[in-house]
Symmetry: C2
Subunit: 367 residues, 2 copies
């Protein structure tokens, strides 16, 4: 039997627990009641795919614990992560006049977590936020650490806030209903933790991968816990990404460009990050940090996880333009995360346009 696991994210007066347990969705209401004893109402924000599967259970759990539940269901998918939908959440909070101590519960994947999180951050300058992630990607990454955002028409996650949740509640059993493609996309971020900070975990993942792809409970529990620990360790040292936290963006500047250039919805975020990690690995070699064999090791890991790795073709200027828009970049040159070993990454400032142009051109070369 897989028991209850808890990891404490220690951020002073913004500290919170990540609780991981299969089947724990039914305990959510009582847990939030313990956390916020003086509140009576909550807003559950979900999407049209997750709500039919889990809203009834979540509502029952909340109501059994005495909560008055308001539900708001938005469209699914990255395309819905807009200021307009964020504004709909705010309108709903306004319509019900929620008070500063009444929580927003984000029930869904990264899109719902980011968007409901930014609404919770903004309404009355901040309501308590509870993350109930239902995708592997959000369970291992986006629900932890307090990054909330919506997309601007000209760039992903460009409008948002650093706003920590009060609780992250992970029921790994809900992955049973997750589309296999979404599960694999989540594995990209898991592989990322291995690549940037834990070589042993990267190796262990190769053993666990068959179990992960078939939702073996023990494998899933191990990977969620290790991933949350990695994410939390980084966030605790650098909450607002003034330094080390940027390492978590490994593959993401390329990934965001791929998502944007291909049109949001073509690639899942995790898929784009997978391709982006491959590109960042080759660039690390081209910039002299590692030898050429590393890209092959990354490719093998992506292949075992059944993730895409073929670099899509766009004009070099399109790559540069899309990457320059990525919010982690400073005024001159690109700030990128590069690999110097499996389990060891570094932030490199001022990567020139020529390096990017050479990189993307190298994928046109059949060698």
């Amino acid at each position: 039997m897989i028991g209850f696991q808890c990891y404490r994210v220690d951020l002073g007066d913004r500290s919170y627990d990540i609780r991981i347990c299969p089947g724990s969705l039914d305990g959510l209401g009582a847990a939030i009641a313990l956390l916020l004893p003086s509140a009576k109402r909550c807003l559950v924000v979900s999407n049209a795919v997750v709500a039919p599967l889990y809203m009834a259970r979540v509502r029952a759990s909340l109501e059994a614990a005495g909560w008055q539940v308001i539900a708001l269901i938005l469209a699914d998918g990255e395309q819905s992560k807009t200021l307009a939908n964020w504004s709909r959440i705010l309108d709903c909070l306004m319509a019900h006049k929620l008070s500063r101590n009444e929580p927003v519960v984000a029930l869904g994947g990264g899109v719902i977590g980011d968007m409901a999180g930014f609404a919770a951050a903004s309404y009355r300058r901040g309501l308590p936020l509870v993350q109930v992630p239902t995708t592997l990607l959000s369970q291992v990454d986006s629900s932890v650490g307090g990054k909330t955002a919506v997309n601007h028409p000209d760039g992903k996650n460009m409008i948002g806030a650093f706003y920590q949740p009060r609780l992250v509640w992970i029921d790994s059993e809900v992955l049973a209903t997750l589309a296999p493609r979404q599960l694999r996309a989540g594995l990209a971020e898991v592989i990322k933790y291995g690549l940037i900070r834990d070589g042993a975990f990267f190796s262990r993942l190769q053993e666990l991968m068959p179990g992960l792809l078939t939702l073996d409970s023990a494998a899933i529990a191990e990977v969620i816990h290790s991933s949350c620990r990695h994410k939390a360790e980084v966030v605790m040292r650098d909450e607002c990404e003034s330094g080390e936290r940027a390492l978590l963006n490994f593959g993401h500047t390329f990934g965001h460009a791929i998502e944007s250039l291909a049109g949001y919805g073509t690639f899942l975020h995790g898929e784009a990050v997978a391709i982006g990690m491959r590109m960042a690995t080759r660039l690390s070699h081209q910039m002299g940090l590692i030898d050429a064999s590393y890209e092959q090791r990354v490719l093998e890991a992506l292949t075992v996880a059944e993730l895409p790795s073929a670099v899509p073709k766009f004009a070099p200027e399109a790559w540069l333009d899309a990457m320059g828009n990525d919010k982690k970049n400073l005024g001159s040159g690109l700030r990128l995360v590069l690999l110097r070993a499996i389990g060891d990454a570094r932030i490199v400032d001022s990567v020139g346009a020529d390096a990017i142009t050479r990189l993307v051109a190298s994928y046109d070369d059949p060698r």
Copy 2:
């Protein structure tokens, strides 16, 4: 001669200076350059009243210090403090692809400071923010402490963030071009500091008031500095209004209701707060905290400052509805700030509807 005054707001890694000096607008560019040595561009957000008066000087000061200046000028007034205008600021930041280290400079009163502040807080999850307040109200209150917001159609300041500026730069000479009505509105917040936490300052204000109304430099400098100190002391103890900071809302729950019920723009914020402080003082008496004479002392102070004090007539249900929407209130009953002496206020929870109904009815009574 009035020299340069500086007050440090100590909030750990979010600490910043408030610098107060007549004529200091021309030193702004160099000051920001010292603060943010690696940035090259900045966005100055202002309004159609302030920009013709001061944008050229601010631009010249910034350009002389090496800044590339982008300017965005919005309509003046509380009516323009909308999500739509906030979104225009974000669009402008996106169009110029400002980086995370490039600042937003808010040149204007509370509306510009709050709205540009929330845009700075939200774009890429936070850019450096410099407040250059040009009204007395923003110089003594809203530019300090990190409250940023825009209005929702159903409530004032309902959407925003706690986001501290990196610098507050106060040139008290700009008050020379401020409309006298706006100057008086700012005095309401100054009187508030006396009422809630400094009885000696409240008395001193009566002596200073003639000088303040005629913009005597020494009187203005003294009052701005004392007010910023009061504001900063409260904010340092309770940045996100979990307790003591709520004392600063003295008169504001009534004031916000008056602004909303009369239609935004009818009363200036400070005028509505003046009336609200009178009402809160009478309520403090009706709830047994002080004797009846206090309202007269508050009225006298408002009269000397040439502020309105007549309570406008609205239906009791309208008052209750408008006050219930105020974001400082918790689930049950109203949370209000009441007076227990001149210079001493307390937060009272769960003020019932009957108390409010009795209060507003008492102004219909000619006695």
